[in-house]
Amino acid sequence: MRKRPGDRNGMWRASRLALPIAMLLGATVGCAPERSGSGLRGFVPKGHAPVDGVSLPEVHPGAAAVPFRFAARPGGLLFVYFGYTSCPDVCPTTLADLRAALHELGADAARVEVAFVTVDVRRDSAEVLAPYLASFVPGSHALRPRNDEDLANAERAFEASSQVRRDAAGKITVSHTSIGYLVDERGRIQLEWSFGTSSKDMAHDLRVLLREPPASRP
């Protein structure tokens, strides 16, 4: 569109569009999910009750189970995930991405603990669960509920759920909430990562949360 000298009409038309366009852009930007003031890529849950009142048995092959409480060590973070070892895709993908994220953190990775709760208690014995997790993150807490009620209580605390179904032919199908939770030393869920969160985004969020002492966060 060629400018004609003295074309005040053209300029007036452009400026009339500018305000609605600016408003539309502003609304679009404003409508983008506000993750957190710190620019976290995961989802910051609000108004969630602390989960440190819940504990599950941490299993070690050949040794007695020890109760594990859902809270990080002071100054650290605890990653919690509900899954099962016969999961060919979702669980290994999440754990592999977490492993890559921890690798990116370097020395700070020591401040992050990992707890994996099996939702497939019948098939995931201590002998199966502990080595499975150790292959992704050595020192992970392998949590195996004693029964369905224990599992349901823990899931309820995280607002997670799962279902294990066995058909007439004995084929087992499992579905589970596939969110990764980051819990602080006071048992508060600071962040949630939906399935598919990249290892880069995980590393980014971990750095942000570790930099700012979790205890000081609201």
Partner: protein
């Protein structure tokens, strides 16, 4: 006028060259086949890959050697109404002509059922793919992992 006809000619030539690289009708090009290394006690694995068929076709199933798994099945990840993720077998996967169909984490995979031993990084797995029209193809999936 002369300039614009040359441009049209150049673009057509380039388009022809690009289109000429697609898979021929009746064949399926399979690429980027890989599997994740599995933990020592895992019983299931997954192969991911990309398929482009030269003509409308359908992937019917897959097979792997007994030394790799008892059987291979086509699966896809699904979400239920509560947002829980699970997977279900799929009865074939459509391969529309010229489109690249991806099997990727969180989506479709060739599930390896009942692994006799873990899949090790660097291992090469022969995956035999069966199609409705194209002749079966065997592709090598490379196992990735630290």
């Amino acid at each position: 006028m002369r300039r614009s006809s040359c441009t049209v000619g150049a673009v057509t030539l380039m388009a022809w060259l690009v289109c000429g690289c697609g898979p021929r009708a009746g064949t399926v090009r399979v690429s980027d086949a890989w599997a994740r290394a599995t933990p020592p006690t895992a019983t299931m694995g997954a192969v991911y890959l990309r398929l482009t068929s030269g003509s409308d076709d359908r992937l019917l199933g897959a097979g792997v050697p007994d030394t790799v798994a008892a059987r291979a099945e086509l699966h896809e990840v699904v979400r239920d109404t509560l947002g829980r993720m699970g997977m279900q077998p799929v009865d074939g996967v459509a391969l529309p002509a010229g489109r690249t169909v991806r099997f990727a984490p969180g989506g479709r995979h060739v599930m390896l059922v009942d692994l006799p031993r873990p899949l090790s990084p660097g291992e090469r797995i022969a995956v035999r793919l069966r199609f409705e029209h194209a002749t079966p193809e065997t592709v090598i999936a490379v196992v990735r992992g630290p």
